[in-house]
C-alpha cells in the first residue's frame, strides 16, 4: 500500500503523514469531548475570556450576546467549535481530494497497461511526477518567470544599463493588497457606524465599570479592610521597618530622611497641621491635602502600607533630628495616640 502510494501514485509521504496526524488528532478530540464528564468542562465555562485574548484584535471585547445556533455556548466554546468545524471540513476535503487523485492514477495505470495510445487522448500523460500541493501553491503564489527564461520578458528599454523584467505582480502580494484594501471599509464601518462601534470614551467608561466591579469583588473577599475608622497602631519591628522603607521611598523627598521636614512639615515634633492621632495621620496620607501640596497616596499605597508608614511616622515622635524644620500647626497631646 505504502509503496503504491509513494511510488506509483506519486503522493508525497509528508501529505500522508499530515493526513494521519489530522485523523488521529481529530479522533482524539472527539473522544475527549464525547466521553468527558460534564462536570469537568463546567470549569472551562466558568473561565471568562481574558482581556488579553483580544490583544491582537482591533477592538475591546464585545459584550456577550449571542443569538443563533451557538447561542448556548460560551465564547471559548464557540471559538473551539468554529475551529473544529473548519478543521473537520478541511479534513473531509483532503480525504475526498486524495480519493480522486488515487482514482485518476489508477485509471492512468490501467490505460497505460491496456491501451497506451489512449493516454494522450485523456490528457493523463503529464500526471507524473506529481508535485506536492505546497510546491504548486508556492508557484501559484509567486508566479515568477524562472531566471533561465527571463530573456523572454526583458522590456525593450534600458536606463544607464538598468533593464526591467515584465514579471507579473506576485499573486500573494496582490492578495495581501486586496485584503488590506477590503479591510479598510469593513473596519471603518465596524468602528464608526455599526452597532458594535465603540468610541474611545465609551470604551473607557466600560473599562472603568468592569475594573470597579472587579475591585469591589476582590475587596469583598478581604476581611477587615483597614481604613481610618479602624486603623490600629503597629509596634512590631517588622511593620515599623516596612513603614520606614515606604517612608524613605515616598515621603523623605519632602519630609526629610529623618522626618525633619523640608518642602513638607517636620514630622518629629508634637505640632500637627492636620491632626496627630493615628487616624488623622492615616487619613492625611490616604487622601492628601491638595491645597497644601500633600499628595493623596491611596492610588499608590495599599491600606496596610499606609498603616505601616503612619505607625513609623508616629514612632519618630520626639527623635529631634538635626536641621529640624520649625513647628507648624497645633500642639497635639500624646494621650490621644491610642
Amino acid at each position: 500500500m505504502a509503496k503504491y502510494l509513494l511510488q506509483d501514485a506519486g503522493v508525497n509521504w509528508l501529505a500522508i503523514l499530515a493526513l494521519l496526524t489530522f485523523t488521529a488528532v481529530f479522533a482524539l478530540a472527539l473522544v475527549l469531548v464525547l466521553f468527558r464528564r460534564k462536570g469537568s468542562y463546567r470549569e472551562v465555562e466558568r473561565q471568562p475570556l481574558r482581556d488579553s485574548y483580544y490583544l491582537l484584535l482591533l477592538a475591546p471585547a464585545p459584550t456577550p450576546a449571542y443569538p443563533g445556533p451557538l447561542g448556548g455556548l460560551t465564547e471559548l466554546q464557540q471559538v473551539a467549535a468554529f475551529v473544529m468545524l473548519i478543521v473537520f471540513l478541511l479534513g473531509c476535503w483532503s480525504l475526498i481530494d486524495l480519493c480522486f487523485q488515487l482514482m485518476a492514477r489508477q485509471r492512468a495505470r490501467l490505460i497505460r497497461q491496456h491501451r497506451p495510445a489512449l493516454l494522450r487522448h485523456v490528457e493523463l500523460e503529464q500526471l507524473e511526477p506529481a508535485r506536492a500541493w505546497w510546491q504548486r501553491l508556492y508557484e501559484r503564489l509567486t508566479d515568477a518567470v524562472p531566471i533561465e527564461e527571463e530573456a523572454a520578458i526583458v522590456l525593450d528599454h534600458e536606463y544607464d544599463g538598468v533593464r526591467e523584467l515584465d514579471n507579473n505582480l506576485p499573486p500573494w502580494w496582490k492578495g495581501l493588497f486586496y485584503a488590506t484594501v477590503a479591510f479598510a471599509p469593513l473596519y471603518l464601518y465596524y468602528a464608526e457606524f455599526s452597532d458594535f462601534a465603540v468610541s474611545n470614551a465609551e470604551a473607557y467608561a466600560t473599562e472603568m465599570t468592569l475594573a470597579e466591579a472587579q475591585v469591589q469583588a476582590y475587596l469583598a473577599t478581604q476581611e477587615n479592610t483597614i481604613d481610618e475608622s479602624n486603623v490600629m497602631l503597629l509596634e512590631e519591628a517588622n511593620a515599623i521597618s516596612a513603614g520606614q522603607r515606604v517612608f524613605q521611598a515616598k515621603c523623605a523627598p519632602c519630609h526629610g530622611k529623618a522626618g525633619e521636614g523640608g518642602i513638607g512639615p517636620n514630622l518629629t515634633d508634637r505640632y500637627w497641621l492636620h491632626g496627630g492621632a493615628l487616624t488623622d495621620v492615616f487619613r492625611t496620607i490616604k487622601n492628601g491635602v491638595p491645597d497644601k501640596g500633600m499628595i493623596a497616596w491611596k492610588n499608590e499605597l495599599r491600606p496596610r502600607d499606609i498603616q505601616e508608614v503612619a505607625s513609623y511616622i508616629l514612632s519618630l515622635q520626639g527623635t529631634d533630628p538635626p536641621n529640624g524644620k520649625e513647628p507648624q500647626g497645633d500642639l497635639f497631646t500624646a494621650q490621644t495616640f491610642k
Partner: protein, 721 residues
C-alpha cells in the same frame, strides 16, 4: 515587447560630461554629518543612563534630541539623497546637471541650513514641532534651497536625452513635490520676532497638521527618495534587471497616495476625533503591500545574484537595508492598530521601531551607495573590502543591539504602567520605578549605538584611504544619441509609458495624488467646529504662563513629557481625567509629545506645591531620588526676557486668542503681579533670592501649575461623543 529597438543609426552620438564633483561634495557631507548626527545621538543615549552628561543648558537632552533627529534626517540622510540623486539623475537621463551654479548653491545652501540648525537648536530656538523644530527664518531658507533643487531637478529632466523617465525619477519627483507641500503646510506660522513664531493652527488641529507632516517626512524624506536610490543602485550593483516593471508602477502610485493618509496613527487614543484615528489605522494597514512592493522588487531583483551578495559589501549593505525597510514597514502598520498602539505609544518601542528604519534602511543604503559611488568617481578600487565587510557586520549587529533592548524596554515599561493591584491601585504608582527598571536596557542601547557609530568611523577611514588612492574624474565623459521620437511610434506600448515621457503630467499627477489624503483629513478638522467641542471653562494663558510655556518649549520638555492623558484606566489613575480636545484651543503649538521618558504633565497643575517644582527644577534628585531628568539651575540665574511679550500677545490675538483689546499694553503689568505672587509664596517656603519675581523659574512654575486645571474632574462622568 521583447524585440529591442535600436536608436536610429543616423542620429549620431552627442558627447557630454557628468558632474562628479557635486556628487563628491554631497558624499563627503553625508559622511561627515552622519558621524556628527550619530555622535550626538550617542550622547543623548548616554544622557539617559548618566544624567550628569547634561552639562550645560545647551547640552541638555531636551535640546540635544532635536539636534540629533535633525542631523540624522536632514543632514545625514538629506545629503545622502542629494548624493544619490545627482549621481543617478545625470546617468539615467544621459545629460549633465542643468546648472552647475544651482548645484553648488544647493549644496552650500543646504549645509548653511544644517549649520543654522546646529547653532539654533542648542540655544533653545525651536518651534517644538517634531522634525520641524527650526524657526521661521530657517524654514524660509529651507524652502528656497529646496526650490533651487527643484529647478535643477526639472531643468535636468527638460534637457534629457532619454525619452522616458525611469522609476527612480518618479520617486525623486514625488519626493520633491510632497516635501514642498509638507514643509509649507507645517510651517504656516506668524513670526513674533526674528527667532520666535506661533503656528497658524492650535491644539488638535496643530497636532494633526504636525503628524501629517511628521509621518510624511518619514515617507517622503526617508522612504521615497531612498526607494529611488534603491531602484538605481541595487540593479547596477547586482548587474541584474529589475524584477517587475508593473510592480514598480503599482507600488509607486499606491505608496504615495496611501502614505499621506496615515498620519493620524501617531495620535491614536489622543483627543483627535475618533474618525480621524480610524482613518489613520486603515490607511496604515493598506500601506503594508505598497511598501512591501518596494522591498520585493529590490530583493527579487537579486535572484540569480545571491552569490555576488555573499562577496560584495555594497550588495550586502543594500540587502540588509531593504530587509530592514520591509520589517519596519510591516511593524509600522501593526503599531497603528489601536490595541497594539495602546501598548507601544509613548514607550521606547516606537524609538526602537524608527531606528530599525533609519539605521537599517537609510543608514545601510547610504553606506552601500557610498561604497558604490566613491571608487567609481575616483577610478580606483575600494581601499579595503575587508574593512567594508567588518563595517557591514558592525552595522547589522549595531542595529540589533540598538533595537532589541528598546523593544524590551518598551514592553516592560508599558506593562508596568498598566499594572494594577487587586485593590485597584497602580502597582508602580511612582513613575520612577518604571524608569529604573529599564535603565540597564538604555545602557545596552547606547552600547548598540556605539557599535554602529564605530562602524561608520571605520567606513570614513576606508573611504578616505580610497579617495587618497584615486583621482577624481570631475567631469566624466559620456555619449548618447540626442533625444528623438521613437521611430516605431508608441502603438502597443504599456499604458503607463505615456506618463513616463511627460514629466509635467507626472508632477501634476503625483501632486494631486498626495494632496487628496492630506486635504481630506485636515480640511474637516479645521472647518467643522464640532470636531473640537468647546469647553466654556478653558481660558487663554496669562502672560506669565505664556512666557513659562515658551520656556517649556525652549528647554524641550516635550521631548520627554507628554501632555495627553489617554482614556485608559491606567492613565486616569496615574495622571487624572483624560485630556479633551477643547482644552487645547489656545495651545500654539500643541505640546502633546510623543514619548514619555518622564510622566505625562497635562494634569500636573496643582498636584505639587510651587516649592516642590522649585526644588525639582533645581535638582530633580532632591524631590525624586533616582530621577534621570537634568537639573535646570539656569532658570533661577536668568531673568525672564519680556521684551517680546506685547508682540506675542498681538500675534496671538491676530491668530484668534481672545485677549481683551489693547491687552498687549497691560500684559506686562499682569505678568509682574502674578510673578510677585508666585515669588512671595516661594519665599515663604524658604527660597532666598531678592529678584526671584523676575526670574525665569517663576514663569515656568506658573505654567506648570496651570496645566490641565481649566476643567473640573466631574465634567468627565459621562462618555462624550
Amino acid at each position: 515587447m521583447t524585440q529591442l529597438h535600436k536608436s536610429p543609426p543616423t542620429a549620431g552620438l552627442e558627447h557630454f560630461t557628468y558632474d562628479n564633483r557635486i556628487v563628491k561634495y554631497f558624499a563627503y557631507a553625508t559622511s561627515l554629518w552622519g558621524l556628527v548626527g550619530m555622535s550626538v545621538g550617542l550622547l543623548a543615549a548616554l544622557q539617559m543612563v548618566f544624567p550628569a552628561l547634561n552639562i550645560t543648558a545647551e547640552t541638555t537632552f531636551g535640546r540635544i534630541r532635536p539636534l540629533h533627529t535633525n542631523a540624522a534626517i536632514f543632514a545625514f540622510v538629506g545629503n545622502g539623497i542629494f548624493m544619490g540623486v545627482y549621481y543617478s539623475l545625470q546617468r539615467l537621463l544621459k545629460t549633465r546637471m542643468f546648472s552647475g551654479t544651482l548645484s553648488y548653491l544647493h549644496f552650500y545652501g543646504w549645509q548653511a541650513i544644517i549649520l543654522a540648525a546646529a547653532l539654533t537648536l542648542p540655544l533653545g530656538i525651536t518651534t517644538s514641532k517634531e522634525y520641524a523644530e527650526l524657526e521661521w527664518p530657517i524654514d524660509i531658507g529651507i524652502a528656497l534651497v529646496w526650490i533651487l533643487f527643484g529647478i535643477n531637478l526639472f531643468g535636468t529632466i527638460a534637457r534629457r536625452r532619454e525619452r522616458h523617465l525611469y522609476v527612480a525619477i518618479w520617486f525623486y519627483i514625488a519626493t520633491w513635490v510632497t516635501v514642498t507641500v509638507l514643509h509649507i503646510g507645517n510651517s504656516l506660522e506668524l513670526p513674533v520676532s526674528l527667532w520666535k513664531s506661533y503656528p497658524l493652527f492650535a491644539g488638535v488641529q496643530d497636532a494633526l497638521v504636525q503628524w501629517w507632516y511628521g509621518h510624511n517626512a518619514v515617507a517622503f524624506f526617508l522612504t521615497t527618495p531612498y526607494l529611488g536610490l534603491m531602484y538605481y543602485f541595487l540593479p547596477k550593483a547586482a548587474n541584474r534587471p529589475v524584477f517587475s516593471y508593473r510592480l514598480s508602477i503599482i507600488h509607486f502610485w499606491a505608496l504615495i497616495f496611501i502614505y499621506i493618509w496615515a498620519g493620524p496613527h501617531h495620535l491614536l487614543y489622543t483627543s483627535l476625533p475618533d474618525w480621524a484615528q480610524s482613518l489613520g489605522t486603515v490607511f496604515s494597514i493598506m500601506l503594508i503591500a505598497p511598501s512591501w512592493g518596494g522591498m520585493l522588487n529590490g530583493l527579487l531583483t537579486l535572484r540569480g545574484a545571491w552569490d555576488k551578495v555573499r562577496e560584495d559589501p555594497v550588495l550586502k549593505m543594500m540587502v540588509v537595508a531593504v530587509t530592514a525597510y520591509g520589517m519596519a514597514t510591516l511593524e509600522g502598520p501593526l503599531l497603528s492598530l489601536r490595541s497594539v498602539n495602546a501598548i507601544s505609544h509613548y514607550t521606547d518601542w516606537t524609538v526602537g521601531h524608527v531606528h530599525v528604519g533609519t539605521l537599517g534602511w537609510n543608514g545601510m543604503l547610504t553606506f552601500g551607495v557610498l561604497y558604490f559611488i566613491l571608487p567609481r568617481i575616483f577610478r580606483t578600487p575600494l581601499y579595503s573590502r575587508r574593512l567594508a565587510n567588518v563595517h557591514f557586520w558592525m552595522a547589522t549587529l549595531g542595529v540589533i543591539f540598538y533595537a532589541v533592548p528598546l523593544y524590551w524596554a518598551g514592553w516592560t515599561q508599558s506593562a508596568m504602567w498598566k499594572q494594577f493591584l487587586p485593590e485597584g491601585i497602580l502597582q508602580y504608582g511612582n513613575f520612577l520605578e518604571t524608569v529604573d527598571a529599564i535603565l540597564p536596557l538604555y545602557a545596552l542601547r547606547a552600547f548598540g549605538g556605539s557599535i554602529y557609530l564605530a562602524g561608520v568611523v571605520l567606513m570614513v577611514y576606508n573611504l578616505v584611504r580610497t579617495v587618497r588612492r584615486g583621482k577624481l574624474v570631475a567631469n566624466e565623459a559620456a555619449a548618447a544619441p540626442p533625444l528623438s521620437d521613437s521611430p516605431a511610434g508608441h502603438r502597443g506600448e504599456y499604458w503607463h509609458r505615456w506618463i513616463e515621457r511627460r514629466p509635467v503630467q507626472l508632477l501634476v499627477g503625483a501632486t494631486i495624488v498626495v494632496l487628496i489624503g492630506g486635504l481630506a483629513e485636515i480640511f474637516p478638522m479645521v472647518m467643522v467646529e464640532s470636531n473640537v467641542p468647546r469647553i466654556a471653562a478653558v481660558q487663554p494663558y496669562t502672560p506669565l504662563e505664556l512666557e513659562g510655556r515658551d520656556l517649556y518649549i525652549r528647554e524641550g520638555c516635550n521631548n520627554c513629557h507628554s501632555q495627553m492623558v489617554r482614556p485608559f484606566r491606567s492613565e486616569t489613575a496615574r495622571y487624572g481625567p483624560y485630556s479633551m480636545s477643547g482644552e487645547f484651543i489656545y495651545d500654539r503649538p500643541h505640546l502633546w509629545g510623543s514619548k514619555r521618558t518622564g510622566p505625562d504633565l497635562h494634569r500636573v497643575g496643582g498636584k505639587y506645591l510651587d516649592s516642590w517644582h522649585f526644588e525639582h527644577l533645581m535638582d530633580p534628585q532632591r524631590t525624586s531620588p533616582g530621577s534621570i531628568m537634568p537639573p535646570y539651575p539656569w532658570l533661577l540665574d536668568r531673568k525672564l526676557d519680556v521684551t517680546d511679550l506685547p508682540a506675542k500677545i498681538r500675534t496671538l490675538q491676530r491668530l484668534g486668542t481672545p485677549y481683551p483689546a489693547r491687552y498687549d499694553r497691560r500684559a506686562l503689568e499682569d505678568l509682574r503681579r502674578q510673578a510677585r505672587d508666585v515669588a512671595d509664596g516661594l519665599r515663604e517656603s524658604g527660597v532666598d533670592d531678592p529678584e526671584l519675581a523676575e526670574k525665569e523659574i517663576v514663569a515656568i512654575i506658573a505654567y506648570l501649575q496651570r496645566l490641565g486645571t481649566d476643567i473640573q474632574p466631574e465634567s468627565q462622568g459621562t462618555p462624550q461623543n
